[in-house]
Chain length 156, copies 2
DNA sequence: CTATATAGTACTAAAATAGTCCTATATAGA
DNA sequence: TCTATATAGGACTATTTTAGTACTATATAG
């Protein structure tokens, strides 16, 4: 299905909320109220994001989380990496020792190329794009050059 | 982790093997021997691929599987879709009714854009590319336009 | 008619993921 | 200095997904 985990999905929701007021502290409980995502889940996501330096944390009373950089300086690839670890579509790209049939496997190099394209696509989208209304984004995000020749089958 | 299932990985291995001799019938047992992938797994993959019309099947003695199109006319996006269903990175792009927080979710349109970029990247790679030696591919596969500005962090 | 090979489906075991809970630590303000 | 509040970190559990197996039906070459 080539999908991102739910936790990452929540991370984008949380970050989008924070990016709307990039200069304010946001406590986990506030974010829960605003987004409807369960508190323990929000909390987990926030911890992961601050560990990856996408957010900075402030403990204690009146503490909370703050964007570490400007919205346009944080991209989706970083967010996914923060939540799920290094991005690689197949397992052998992230864990080289795990594949038992290396000798008969000519695919590795090819998948690497695909990974790069996917990574670049994800890197092109920033938090600032996620905050924008949907319509305006189309121009601000780069598309693979072959794009115009194909329609999306998945859309129905 | 943004990854593709093992079954899809096997599918590319199997298809790469078949694409080397695109005009011959390949029985499941032959493919097992050549690739080292377990027979039941190969069998499962082959069935899914023929159901999706990527392969044509021939039953009975001396039967086997054959590529339905030329290697360059089958792309990776089709293979992934055959094995795992419609490609969509987040769940709400494939299952619109499942999201309970639609009202507070502004992300959907944005993820759709990302999905398109990813899909296009996958669509640009064909079986013919997978058969080529790794070096030659670089020129034959289109890359997103912003690609050159960024390096891959996942590579280490 | 028989050996061989795919078609289809149901099932089981293992792994990954989501989500919860508890304890420790830091800070603001009284 | 004490207390309320908020994050840090880690361990744990339930659920879901995925991988892999097994069995029966059907088609075809010779």
């Amino acid at each position: 299905m080539l999908r991102v985990s739910k936790l990452t999905d929540y991370a984008t929701v949380v970050l989008t909320h924070i990016a709307h007021q990039p200069n304010e502290l946001h406590a986990a409980s506030d974010i829960t109220q605003a987004t409807g995502v369960a508190l323990p889940t929000v909390s987990k996501v926030l911890k992961l994001l601050s560990k990856a330096n996408i957010l900075t944390s402030h403990r204690g009373s009146k503490g909370g989380y703050l964007l570490a950089s400007k919205p346009k300086d944080t991209n989706v690839a970083e967010v996914i990496t923060a939540i799920e670890g290094p991005i690689g579509i197949t397992e052998c790209t992230t864990d080289h020792s795990a594949c038992e049939q290396e000798s008969s496997c000519e695919i590795k190099g090819n998948w690497n190329l695909i990974n790069r394209a996917v990574y670049a696509a994800l890197e092109a989208v920033t938090l600032a794009d996620l905050v924008l209304p949907v319509v305006e984004q189309a121009v601000s995000i780069s598309m693979p050059v072959k794009m115009e020749t194909n329609d999306l089958k998945a859309e129905s």
